[in-house]
């Protein structure tokens, strides 16, 4: 049986500042080495100043993953030399003498399987090395410390996954959960990263590092399983080792053994006293935690009779669920949910589009009211939606400006039908003989009104004219 375990790193980008100083946690908008201070570049004499909010965010994550969370936590130094590490040690956590990190022993249900979370720890992200030749601008290898000290949560699972597909489902659930908690933005480039380890029946565990994206992770896992199986079939021992994902060749490559044997000489980081997270703090965190995705979904289904799949889509996305929560009332919830999943999602399918879209919950409820009161057709609603997202203008103004109001005045439609009966004589004859071709005539009316005519009324009027 294949066993896969994961080690996921997620930046807490929703925090204002870094883990140990007041530089910005969101380092992305800065010129290289412009989001740094004596603390995060480890100048002599500087001391870490713990960001308590980061401890709270990490604890929330641990709670959301059903982990045990200890009364007090400690930080450790992981000692190793690397150019992106300003102090040449990383401040992280360790559970050597019992639970000292923010959480441990949790789980996530993935379909019917329980994936156990071994531990969750809070640590600092290192800087970034931009290698020689990475772009035309980089003639030599450079280090950018803007990222150094960004709060990072490491989530380690047990080797409970049986397939790369399960891994993908889990990562989707996890990234939705982290976003729903309001602590992270997994969609940001480099904000959420995962390494994996793989073993097959009768083989040793192989760790895979240096994986750029979730997509590559799945590929790397597939490659590694196939590699191990072919070794096994040929009776070659699968060595316990660390392998690197070679993004260019799409294969895993054995790392130099030196890296594996690295001794990190962990010991307590005494510059940060033990942090107490007492019961009242934990209670408050639990109370302020946003509703979980699964309970949201359940609520939508039970209260509003929304189809489970539709409810699931809305509940798992913070943006859609926020739109929905503020738009619905008892009588239109189901319609709004459908409008969201059939039309809105089609237009706003990326985080970037979510950020740029000007649509509000009021727009949604106005639109549904207009459709239900037959002020506009579904077709026109779709056109209006696009305009709303762009301009954010009031719906009434948009309807007027774009001339989208529904035509339900019988005489107006009647006049149009008379004209069409003159222009499309053959079609009228066809429709009289074969009633199923009547839709052609309805279509013509829609064409002339740019979809604004009330389709039910139009059909009625055509039928009565045919019978005249």
């Amino acid at each position: 049986m294949t066993k896969i375990g994961l080690e996921i790193h997620c930046q807490l980008t929703k925090l204002e500042s870094k883990l140990f100083c007041s530089c910005k946690a969101n380092y992305r908008e800065f010129e290289p080495n412009h989001n740094i201070c004596p603390i995060c570049i480890g100048l002599p004499g500087s001391l870490p100043r713990l960001n308590r909010k980061a401890v709270e965010s990490a604890t929330s994550i641990a709670m959301a993953l059903s982990c045990e969370t200890p009364e007090k936590i400690a930080f450790f130094r992981k000692n190793y030399f690397y150019p992106d590490s300003p102090k040449n040690f990383q401040i992280t956590q360790l559970n050597v003498y019992g639970n000292m990190s923010v959480g441990g022993e949790g789980y996530v249900n993935v379909e019917d399987k329980k994936i156990k979370i071994r531990r969750i720890q809070l640590e600092e992200d290192p800087g970034r090395i931009i290698y020689e030749g990475a772009s035309e601008r980089t003639k030599i290898t450079l280090v950018d410390y803007n990222r150094a000290g960004t709060p990072l949560v490491e989530i380690v699972t047990d080797p409970d996954f049986e397939s790369p597909r399960q891994v993908r489902v889990f990562l989707n659930i996890l990234s939705d959960l982290l976003e729903n908690l309001g602590v992270a933005e997994p969609g940001l480039e480099g904000a959420m990263r995962a390494d994996g380890n793989v073993s097959i029946e009768g083989g040793n565990k192989v760790e895979i590092k240096n994986i750029g994206s979730f997509h590559d992770l799945e590929k790397a896992l597939h490659f590694e399983i196939t590699r191990q199986q072919s070794l096994f079939e040929r009776d070659i021992e699968i060595a316990q080792e660390t392998r690197h994902w070679d993004d260019r060749r799409k294969i895993t490559v054995s790392s130099r053994s030196k890296e594996e044997d690295q001794d990190y000489r962990y010991f307590l980081e005494n510059d940060i006293p033990w942090v107490k997270i007492d019961q009242s703090t934990r209670d408050a965190l639990k109370e302020n935690m946003p509703e979980s995705i699964s309970s949201k979904k359940e609520r939508y289904v039970e209260k509003f009779d929304i189809a489970p799949q539709v409810a699931g889509i809305i509940a798992s996305d913070r943006y859609y669920s926020k739109l929905f929560e503020n738009a619905y009332s008892e009588h239109n919830a189901k319609d709004i949910a459908n409008l969201l999943t059939t039309d809105v999602i089609g237009f706003i399918d990326t985080k970037e589009k979510q950020q740029n879209s000007k649509i509000t919950s009021k727009h949604l409820s106005d639109l549904i009211d207009a459709i239900n009161s037959k002020t506009i057709t579904r077709n026109s609603a779709k056109i209006a939606l696009q305009e709303i997202m762009k301009s954010g203008n009031d719906m009434k103004d948009i309807l007027q400006e774009m001339d989208l109001g529904q035509v339900s005045d019988s005489s107006e439609i009647d006049t149009l039908i008379s004209q069409i009966f003159k222009d499309e004589k053959q079609a009228v004859i066809d429709a009289k003989e074969r009633p199923e071709t009547i839709n052609f005539l309805v279509g013509k009316v829609m064409q002339k009104t740019k979809g604004k005519a009330d389709p039910v009324k139009t059909l009625e009027l055509i039928k009565s004219k045919l019978n005249q």
Binding site: I41, L43, L47, N79, P83, P86, F267, I272
Partner: protein, 481 residues
Amino acid sequence: MNLNTSILKYIEDVKSGTFTVEEFTAATLQRIKDVDGDVHAYLSLNDSAINDAKIIDKKISSGEKIGRGYGFPISIKDNICITGTKTTCASKILENFIAPYTSTVVNRLQNEDVVITGKTNLDEFAMGLTTEFSAFGPTKNPWNLKYVPGGSSGGSAASVAANECLASLGSDTGGSVRNPASFCSVVGLKPTYGLISRYGLISYANSIEQIGPMTKTVKDSAFLLNIIAGQDANDDTTINNNNVNYLENIEDGIEDKRIGIIKEMTIDGLSSEVATATKDAIKDFESLGASCDEVTLPTIPYTVAAYYTITSTEAGSNLARYDNIRYGYELESEGYEYNSYISKSRTKFGPEVTRRIILGGFVPSAGYAGKYFLKALKVKSKLTSEVNKAFENFDYLIAPTTPVQPFRFGEKIDDPVTLMLLDYNTVTANLTGKPAISVPYRVVNGLPIGMQIMGNSLEEKSLLQSAYALESKTNLPAVPL
């Protein structure tokens, strides 16, 4: 002008107009010019000292709000950062490091209007007991230039003893304030761990070290502590001291106080001069109304080994950042890959620092941590509970600060183990986090002897009362320089 004066007397004189801040500063700078060629207490001087003094004089004459310091001259150990000044740690590797920020202690001093004279010499990265390990040459003992001043804050102690300033800030990881204080006959205080902010102190062994005042009198020590002690948002390990006034009631005496004489620190290894002085000090304490009894702390024989294990581990980690990548010295990188480049750049460390980094790579490493590092931590916690227990029966624990008097240059530098044993009486305060003070007690054969008093955590006020009481029993000669 008499430069051999206390801060408190100096302030009186400035207030009464006996002399101006500028006059006293100029005289101090002249004194430095005259003697520091021999003493070598300073690594760098503050070029704007006279200017700083003038500004303070102006404040005084115009009746503007003036800080508690009234411009008294103070030197700062060169492992404490001040914006825009070189902070070298007496190491070639930081020879050109100019700090871009100021430590909390110096900030607090500057807010109270002091004049900083300059930065003082130390053993490289504060590792040593004689300042012989300074990369820029040793400091001499003002009592006898052929003798070591102690260390690692040897420059600070010598600058105070030689009247090249009125006070200094040192740092104490295993005795680095108290040992040179004892060797140079000044008052040196190592406060409770967390009482004084370490923000801006370049770390050597951060779990046990503290900045401490070095002064001519016990009252001055209390005065300085009033300024620099207390919680700091920039150092998470600092503790609230409720703004205790350490100077208030300092003359209250020690009548009926119970003093424990630490057996393990007073039996073996003391020179006869130090042994005699210790016996006399006990008599003095008794004459002041205190009761003295022997107390045994059986873990003490293991403390020096534990101390070097813990400090080397932390030093190995704290000094890892000196890889010459973000700052450092000119070293062409062409032809090196990362690992060989940092190995090459780190050869600039001196012998003692190198020794401890190597030790620090070994004792906490996989397979050896249990035998060394974790065992050392056990010694630390066992010692702490022993000392805590002793404080249930005693108000103070005493011993001579060092087992021997100052020795000649070169006498012990090649014998690291003998050098390490000089720490025998001082490391306990660091390993347990307790405050301890070295009080000048006697000068024998022209060389000083200091007595150490250790108090319970955050009991600096009471500790300073006992130190003041002992000080009042002494009558010491002036430095012959």
